[in-house]
Every structure is written in structure tokens, then in C-alpha cells.
Symmetry: C2
Subunit: 392 residues, 2 copies
Amino acid sequence: MNRYSPNNLKRPSKGLINIHPIQRGGILTEEARKVLIEWADGYSVCDVCLEGRVDLLKNPPVDALKQDIAEFLGMDTARFTAGARHAKFAVMAGFHGGIVVLDSLAHYTSYTAAELNDMKIYEVPNSGYPDFRIDAEMYAETFERVKEDTGRYPDLALLTHVDYRYGNLADAEKVGRICEEYGIPFVLNTAYSSGVMEINGKKLRAAFIVASGHKSWSATAPIGILATNYEFSDIIFRTSKVRGEWSGRAFTKKEIAMFGCSPVFGLPVMTLMASFPRVVERVRHWDDEIEKARWFVKEMEKIEGVQLIGERPKNHTLMHFESPAFHSIAKKHKKRGYFLYHELKKRGVFGVQAGMTKNFKVNIYGLSREELGKVADAFKDIAEKYGVEVED
Amino acid sequence: MNRYSPNNLKRPSKGLINIHPIQRGGILTEEARKVLIEWADGYSVCDVCLEGRVDLLKNPPVDALKQDIAEFLGMDTARFTAGARHAKFAVMAGFHGGIVVLDSLAHYTSYTAAELNDMKIYEVPNSGYPDFRIDAEMYAETFERVKEDTGRYPDLALLTHVDYRYGNLADAEKVGRICEEYGIPFVLNTAYSSGVMEINGKKLRAAFIVASGHKSWSATAPIGILATNYEFSDIIFRTSKVRGEWSGRAFTKKEIAMFGCSPVFGLPVMTLMASFPRVVERVRHWDDEIEKARWFVKEMEKIEGVQLIGERPKNHTLMHFESPAFHSIAKKHKKRGYFLYHELKKRGVFGVQAGMTKNFKVNIYGLSREELGKVADAFKDIAEKYGVEVED
């Protein structure tokens, strides 16, 4: 049991600059940190629940937060979910057994949500190496392919706004317009965009906006957001119709795809709430983040053979590099592929996956220019140490 | 936005003895409190994820915790889920469209999990007022009723070990034996028992043990546990079989009913982990909790007309009282039903639902004898203030 002692439970990234692709947008704000102790116990927010659903709470103001977030995303209404994965599951539960079209860069949880709901999946191709773009027009083409194949158009179309592999920013507005033309409800997965970038679901013609609180809204895990319009809210947030055949019990307020009352009652919703004002503010500075991201790419590509994969110029802070030179070093190094991880750690930088050298991903969101310089210098320094050329 | 400022986000129960029925078992241990800051950021535990699933993590030792918890519950294996509600959903997803028998005191999330999985529900009757007991033999009778009605026995039977309405402790072993005789997989919902009481799934013949970390294992919300035996693990924890029709992508390690990788990656699993050694220790002192509960009932029933509803003697710390005298006071009081809530709060006691006087529920788990005396005195003092007789 000693392994579970708090003294033995230290974060591996403690005290280091963490550029792990999934960690940057989830770092708590100061405000969220301030509410940690107050709301840490189990069901803390349920102290004065009268309505039996967390999203209807007045104290703390979860109901108000729900409406403010819906408005912030340009949608009519919203719910909190156990992560974006639960939100996607909940949408697809409304189209159980149907056909979904999704981009071929989608997160695995988009595929498994479809699978769990017995949906047939069609993929929108991407342009392949080296930029892996999703061309919006290919949605129309894929819809037609579904029609040819099955005799009807798909029930749902999903686009990953920013994909987790290359950090490409897809043209959501164009996909939205195509979906609108076809009359196919459009799900936009903004796990890497809303919360750090401005998103307006109305403008993008989204029927559903899926977001991730722990990925991009500075909340503790797990919390997702599922925002929609009145047209779909009765389907997706459908309430229980069951009646106990002996007891007559009924639960008419409970939304079944939310598991009755969504399991975010405690720190997830409270940290999301405490961070929200700052999130609203920070999305206005996205341009600055892009500028830093492009600067970082330029610096990294000064290292011989290092090349950005995915679209250029960068429109997001998550990025994917290939680095044949680091890979060559790994082949001869006694730590093999782990050398890069260890060399970076020695230089105060964490988050490149241990064992990766040929390709690796980083996310620089929210780093100061000074920290970012330190990260670029660490990579360059390692390159030079092993005789890889670095431009001045 | 001012309403979301940390200064305005104080817990209503702060500084009070909280006897809210769902709050006692979720109060964090000192050890869990110690890991809060360290692991608060979003996906914190994923820093060094190599396997792509939270339950396989070696650092922090989530994989070890999973095995230790399975053993603690007398089961072969376990997973973490977004609450007990997600665990029940995951079990029923393995029996989609089938028939489930459940006790008529079951939590609403048992009904809605069945509804979400298109299962037909049959209820095991309870004995009604005033003790509302579930007679284990009625499971056999209900199985036969299902057979008569549908031509076959049910696919699944669920028992709520301790129900949330009366805090009755059902005879799980007897229900388990009946299920075994019929060859029907037995789901035991231990949301109010495991974590505070000793549970041995093997002895109880459970195919599935469902538990709630934020309700009874001193963890932050949301985290549930789903433990099972090897016989069922491949069905319930089934991995993704889908293959991208254009890309060929596959996700063969991801468990689809867990949403691929269960959304507990951060404080929920870390606080469960830090609390676990103390939970293992505390379940041995359950007798003492029962003794306190019975003492409290005796004290409460000294108030004229106050009567315990549910089984007697008490076998759990969650209890339900009817109190016609408080109800009579409410009728004449200018605060109406809210008077009891306010009078208790003035005396440092929180958790009786605001507006309730005719019936109310409390949970005294983990209160010291001194605190418990204070709670009993508060009720008696209020009674006397309004001229209700209290025995010496």
C-alpha cells in the first residue's frame, strides 16, 4: 500500500515546462486553483440540489454557467458531460444504428462512440503526407458515396475542428455550409479549439458543438460540453420515459444520455466555472498564440532535417515534427529512442513521448516567449551535442 | 461574470456538520487532500501514458490500483468509470435490448441505464410501508413472472445493496444464490456499501460489482468502479472492432463502453488512489458505524412522532425519518417547510433537504460521537422550541 502514499504520488512533469500535446489547455487558471479545496469532496455541488439535475443548480450557479457557455459558443443550449467522448456518445445515441460521416483525422473516441451506437462509419479522406489536409469539398463527395452505397444520405456528419495528430485547423464553415445544403446535422468536435479560440456555432452552421473542459478550458478532468440548438435538444437531451412496471416510478426530468444527471458534480464543473471568465478573455489573444507557434516552427526547422508535418503555415499550437536526425542518433544511443526524452528532461522540458524520435508532437499553447525560447534552445542544444547541424 | 469569481463560490455547507445523505462517504481523506494540487490540471495522469488507456498506467500506479481494488472486492478484474451510473450503463450495453430484473428501490440511474440500452425492465416488489424490504425470494418469483410474460428468463438481475431512499441493507448473498441457480448474471450496485463496508463479490456470487468513488470511497467526482470476473470481462470491456473504411485506422486496445479510455484521468483516479489504503482500513470498523446509527435512531425517536422508516434495527448509516410534528410546525411557520433547514443551520447542522419536514433523510457515516450528539441535540432543541415533546 506504500505505493499509494501521497509522498510517492508525484507528477512526472513536476517543475518542468510541459509541452505534452494534451496538457496545455487544461492547466488550471489561478481562479480554478482557488476553488480546489472548497469543492473537492465527492458530490460537493449537490449540497442544495432541489431539481435533481446538476445543470439546473442555482447555487453554485451551474444553470447560469450552462447558458453563458451556450451563448459564448453561439448555440441555444448546452449540457456538461463526462468529457468530449461522452458528448459525442450522447449525440450519436440520438442517431443509433444510423450512418455517420467523419473526417479521417478524427479522434478515436469519435469512432468508438459511433461503434457503441451501432453506427456505420464513412470517412472523409485527407490529402496524405506531408500536410494531411481535410478538403471541405470532400464532405459532399463522401455524402454522395454514402448515397450510392446505401441508397440514402448519412444521418450525421462530424468534423474534427483541430485534429490531434497534426494540429490542422479544418475549414469548419465550409463543411457547415455543405452539411446545411444536404440537410445533414453537423457535429463539430472542438476539443482543441473552443476554450482557446473563438468559436461561433451559428456562423459555422453547427447542429452540435462538442468541447473538452480538461483539454482546452482549464478544468479538472473529466468535463465536456455538448451545445446544440433547440431543434435538436429534445432528441439529444431526451428525458426518461420508463415507468416501473410494479412501482409506477418515473424519472421524467432525467436525461438518459447524460446518465440521468451528468456526472460532473464536484470539481469538474466548479473548476470549469471558476476558469470561465478567463477563458472568455483568453480566446481573444489567439493570434498571439499563432504567432508564437509559427516562430517556434521556424526555430525548430533550423535543426537539420527537422520538418513540420501538417498544414503550413500553422494555425494552431499543437504541432507534429519529423526529425530523421534524432532518429539516427537514437539508433546508436544506449538509451535508444528514450534519449530525446531524457535529454529534454535534463534541460527542463517535458512532454515529448518517451521513445519517440522519428516523429513527435508538442503543444506550445500558453507558454511565455521566454519559456518557448527555452524549449527551442533545448532541442537545438541536444542536436548540437550529437553533431546535428543547427542554423544560426 | 462576477458570479463566477472564486470569492463568490463558497460551499453552502461550509463549516457545518453535513449530514446530507449523499455526502458522508465522499469526504476526502487527508491523503486525498494532499494530492489535490499536484494532480489538478486536466489530464494530469496522462503525462507518461504509453498504452493509451488510463487503467494500464504504471506511473502513477493506476494499473496496480485496478488489480488491488478488484482483489479488495473479491473479483477478478476492474475498471474505473465516470461514476456508478456509467458502470451500470457499461454492463447493460453488454446486454443491449435484453431483459433486466431490478429491485423496486433501485436508484434512478439503474432504470435510465436500462432505458438507454433498450432493455425491458421488470421490478422486484418491496414490502411497502413502513419497512420497504426487498425479500430475496421475490427475485425467483420475478424471474418466473418474466418467463411467463416473455417465454424466457431475464438476461440480467440487479440488486441495490443499500438503497438511497431508506438505507436498507438487502440480502445480497441470498439474491446471489438465486441468480446462480437460474444462471442469470447478478449485478450488485454497492454505491452505498463498498468503500464503507466489506464486500466480497465471490461470496455474494456477483458477476458485476458496481461502486461509487465519490459516494463511498472518498474520491473527487466522478469516479465509479466496475469489477467483474473473467467470464464476463471480454463482453463488458469489449474492445473496438471498427476499421476506418478509407484510412484502415483501428483502435483495438480501446474499450468501447469505457468510451475508449475511461474519462477519470486526473483527480478522480488520483484521489481514489490516495484514499484507498484508508478505505481498506475503515471498512473494518463498520460495526462501530452501525452502533452509532442505532444510537442516533434511539435519540431521534425520543422526539414525539419521529419514526424511523425502513428496516429495523438499522444496518446502515443512511436513514429516513417521518416526523409529523415538524410537519405540523411547518404549516404554521412563516418559513413554511424551510424552517427546519434554517433552524438546523443555526445550530451548525446541514444536509436535511430544504423544504422537507414530513419526511427527511440523513447520513451519519463517519461522524464522531461528539458530532453525532450535537446533531441529535439540534433536532431535540428545535422540537422543544416549538413545543414538541422530547423524552429525557
